[in-house]
Symmetry: C2
Subunit: 222 residues, 2 copies
């Protein structure tokens, strides 16, 4: 469902040029649960940004469902992103001016749903991550792990085809991390959701079908 062919990404600042991705070849089939590991700065978040169409590669091709992404308009790309992909960002990217409930509703705004249906789905997602008692809080009123779980609720609320999760359990204790993994496994098994997850935790990675490893921008095993 996702095919990367010789994808490279270079970041240039005034002083330094960084090859964050170096000729990545990767295929992820529909319904796969893939984990990505590697040292700090090795390109993992960059990979997720590129797969998630949040950033363009410097070189190479990306195909989603057999269609070359570079042939799509910005509007089509935004539509794919909003309807088919759920993101759990490393920094959560919650909107500080919105309550927890409103943050989780955001992916649903791009669908033709009633306000009451959106609220129902957002409440169900928040219950799934154990945050029913915090729906009216604002992000500044939450602990680090609670923010992470709001981000997870937002990623799963619309049952996307693909979830890109950047260290979704990094700020969570073991018990809560296991709860989150159960949620992801249920989506993968029951909804056939494709999941690409970055993690630093070997025990978490072992629970996925396949693990790829990055080092200095290159994929180093398959």
């Amino acid at each position: 469902m996702i095919d990367l062919t010789d994808v490279s990404k270079v970041y240039r600042t005034d002083t330094i040029e960084t090859l964050a991705l170096n000729k990545i070849n990767l295929s992820v089939r529909n319904g796969e649960f893939l984990s990505v590991m590697g040292p700090s700065g090795s390109g993992k978040s960059t990979l997720l940004n590129v797969i998630g169409l949040l950033d363009k590669p410097s070189e190479g091709q990306i195909e989603l469902d057999g269609e070359e992404v570079s042939e799509k308009s910005e509007r089509e790309i935004a539509k794919i992103r909003n309807e088919k992909i759920g993101f759990v960002f490393q920094s959560f990217h919650l909107i500080n001016d919105l309550s927890v409930l409103d943050n989780v509703e955001i992916p649903l705004l791009y669908r033709e749903l009633s306000a009451s249906k959106r609220k129902e789905m957002a409440l169900a997602a928040l219950e799934n991550v154990g945050l029913s008692a915090r729906t009216k809080h604002f992000p500044s009123q939450l602990s680090g792990g609670q923010k992470q779980r709001v981000a997870i609720a937002r990623a799963i609320v619309g049952k996307p085809n693909l979830i890109l999760a950047d260290e979704p359990t990094g700020n969570l204790d073991s018990a809560m991390g296991n709860e989150i993994m159960k949620i992801l496994h249920d989506l993968n098994q029951n909804e056939k959701t494709t999941i690409v997850m970055v993690t630093h935790d070997e025990n978490i990675a072992k629970q996925t079908e396949r693990t790829i490893r990055f080092f200095d921008g290159s994929k180093i095993n398959d």
Copy 2:
């Protein structure tokens, strides 16, 4: 050096009242290396904020070096914070408009040091965390783990008496996490720095002298 007596902290929003800390009694002696564990939302960051004088308890007393904190002026409190305490925040709190080097210099601005001395010390701290090649980058140009390491460099640059580290290895791979623990152990052993560190990682906690555990705002073992 740190004595908490019956410290409680209540957060009130429009809808809910949360007892984040419930009558905490805790003594941390000079030069101790203490870890704090517990589930998400159990009060760990709140504890660090209160110890670090970034927030006031709702009830109870805090003594630093035998002096009651509530008898100090805001100016004295800010002085203690700036000169004696280094923070590694869970969200890093880097200043986006400043380069990596300038971010790390911040704690030194409150001391009477020349610009060249500040720069020397900041460069040394950044070398210590493996970021010498990123000094002119801005936080938006860094990976998650790189931002965390900048936060650690900023916490250690002024060799504070006390370091409060909120999950300092949460975004780091094992190898880098071990590097950071070596840095903290060196400061604790060689500089007698007191360290209070929140972590979700049992292996990391075992490397400290003592671990306290929180659950629902209460300390549950000693």
